[in-house]
Amino acid sequence: MTRAAWLMLAVTWAVIAYFNVRFFGMVLRKK
């Protein structure tokens, strides 16, 4: 894996994980 590929993967995964935790977390909290 090149450094650019790792960077792209890490940033994209982090963005997706952040919004999933944030939004689905809110869904679970605000029933």
């Binding site: 894996m1 650019a4 590929a5 792209m8 919004f19």
Partner: protein, 543 residues
């Protein structure tokens, strides 16, 4: 009655909606598309389109759905009738109904393949029969006729339809919601197990010729040149559009069962990002890394050159799993099991609007409506099963699973933003919202989203046979525009070959099957519109 039905829990609704959107394309098409269009750079246009088209359309569809539900309408014809100022709008809604009926027919057929593959993985069929020989036989492609009838495929198809009917007949909370609460976590679990197993394959393991990370690199290494290629943006917009199950009225139907002041903005956003999780994180980490480990990068590049990982998923992976010893049947069951869960949560979402239409507008009882949906799906699906080698399946997919979705999305965006009006529309989106919806979307929805949709539609309409630049050069030099055989115009005029219904021996050709399929699809659309007309004429539609 459907109007009194409600979701059992909010998390269940979001899981059901995400299950609706998550389909086979997340695991088979996305990684191939990303690898072919700039690698990691593909994610820039992809996520841009998600923010400017995907999320806004989700909000529009959820808003239309909740509004329709308030008036007892759970399907697009009634919703459009409520939104619009002209009685003809309800007939435009029939396009969504037609898509659900037709897509369910052929989609359940694909779904049934995954079920059959689970069975054959477990019993070890692929140890003795290679998948590349098994699959054409299974589809009836080796029987020397365009009209061969594959018995085993028909059996698994019937099982799949029966399963869908059974779940749908149990109702919203005990049927679709429960299936999604079981199916979605299992799908994620199966995907995670396969991704970890695949990405940690050691270089010296039996059969491994290359590091799986080379495959991951193929998907993720950014090639910035891709960003300046229009085809990359078109591919990104198209993949994003089709992955979210937008444009067929199924999201509206799910949203119609929430209360009038219940949040939809957060539900839609959560559903959208969950779909991206499955597509990008899971979908990008299974197929290509595992295939690369056993076949080498060059073979995988060749196999995904057309932008689809379908061949790798159904023909290659079952064979590669055999390298995993005792774990092979488990891996096969996990892979095809996750594809099955991805499939059934989507086909249920196509069944619910059809049932809701029958319940709302014709007061038909739920179980009877589920059986009617099953009967229609079985009839249309058998047409695909029987005439798969002749191209019926591809026609269903092209017209009802691709073109109709974009047309429907354009219509609903226009009605929502310009007929219903963005002031009222914005109020609908933000009413009861548990999240702050950025105000910029108040302007994205009427201007940017339709622009992207029109671009996708025009690109599909006139897609050239080669590169866009070469086609422009051909046009300006007076040689005309070379329509691709899979462009909308190319399909209509049967571009790319000789056109005849019968061959020299008097046997029916692929052109005959294709034209028959088009007639059938037109008749189904007419029937859907006729049913809408009848429902409103009889005045049995709710106020």
């Amino acid at each position: 009655m459907s109007s009194k039905e409600r979701w059992g829990s909010r998390a269940g609704l979001v899981l059901a909606s995400a299950g609706n959107a998550v389909g086979l394309g997340n695991f088979l098409r996305f990684p191939a598309q990303a690898a072919q269009h700039g690698g990691g750079a593909f994610l820039i246009p992809y996520l841009t389109c998600f923010l400017l088209m995907g999320i806004p359309l989700l909000w529009v569809e959820w808003s239309i759905g909740r509004l329709g539900g308030r008036y007892g309408h759970h399907t697009a014809p009634g919703m459009f009738d409520r939104l619009g100022r002209h009685p003809s709008f309800k007939y435009l809604g029939a396009i969504g109904l037609c898509s659900c009926v037709c897509v369910a027919g052929y989609y359940c057929y694909i779904e049934s393949w995954t079920l059959a593959y689970v069975w054959h993985s477990v019993v070890g069929t692929f140890k003795t029969i290679p998948p590349e020989r098994f699959f054409p036989d299974y589809l009836g492609q080796h029987q020397g006729s365009l009209f061969a009838f594959p018995r085993e495929a028909a059996f698994w198809f019937l099982v799949t339809v029966a399963l869908n009917v059974w779940v749908l007949s149990r109702g919203l909370a005990k049927g679709i919601e429960l299936a999604s609460k079981i199916g979605m976590p299992l799908l994620i679990l199966f995907g995670a197990v396969l991704a970890v197993k695949g990405l940690t394959l050691p270089p010296g393991a039996p059969g491994v010729v290359e590091s799986p990370l080379a495959g991951l690199n193929f998907v993720w290494n950014p090639r910035p040149s891709g960003l300046f290629d229009p085809s990359t943006w078109l591919a990104a917009a198209g993949q994003n559009f089709f992955t979210l199950s937008i444009g067929m009225g199924s999201i509206q139907c799910y949203a119609a069962y929430v209360k009038a002041n219940e949040d939809i903005a957060l539900n839609a956003a959560s559903m959208g990002w969950m779909t991206e999780f499955v597509e990008i994180i899971l979908g990008g980490s299974i197929l290509i890394p595992i295939a690369t480990a056993y076949l080498g990068l060059a073979a995988v590049q060749a196999a995904t050159a057309g932008g689809s990982g379908f061949g790798l998923g159904f023909l290659t992976l079952p064979k590669l799993f055999l390298n995993w010893g005792w774990f092979a049947p488990v891996a096969g069951a996990l892979w095809f099991g996750l594809l099955f869960f991805a499939g059934i949560t989507s086909s249920l979402a196509m069944g619910q609007p059809v049932m809701a239409f029958l319940e709302d507008e014709f007061k038909i009882e739920r179980r009877k409506a589920a059986l009617m949906f099953g009967g229609t799906t079985a009839a249309l699906g058998f047409f695909c099963v029987w005439l798969y080698p002749g191209g019926a399946f591809d026609e269903f997919d092209f017209w009802t699973g691709t073109v109709a979705l974009v047309v429907f999305a354009l219509i609903e965006t226009f009605i929502f933003a310009y007929v219903f009006g963005m002031d009222k529309g914005w109020e609908e989106i933000t009413r009861g919202a548990d999240m702050k919806v950025p105000r910029v979307f108040r302007y994205v929805i009427p201007y940017v989203t339709p622009f992207l949709l029109v671009t996708i539609f025009v690109a599909a309409l006139v897609k050239p046979a080669g590169a866009w630049g070469a086609a422009m050069a051909s046009l300006t030099s007076g040689q005309g525009w070379p329509f691709a055989p899979d462009s909308i115009i190319g399909k209509i005029v049967h571009a790319g070959g000789t056109y005849a219904w019968f061959d020299a021996a008097g046997r029916g050709t692929r052109d005959l099957v294709i034209d028959l399929t088009r007639v059938l699809l037109t008749v189904i659309l007419a029937i859907c519109m006729g049913l809408v007309w009848r429902a409103w004429r009889r005045g049995r539609s709710p106020a």
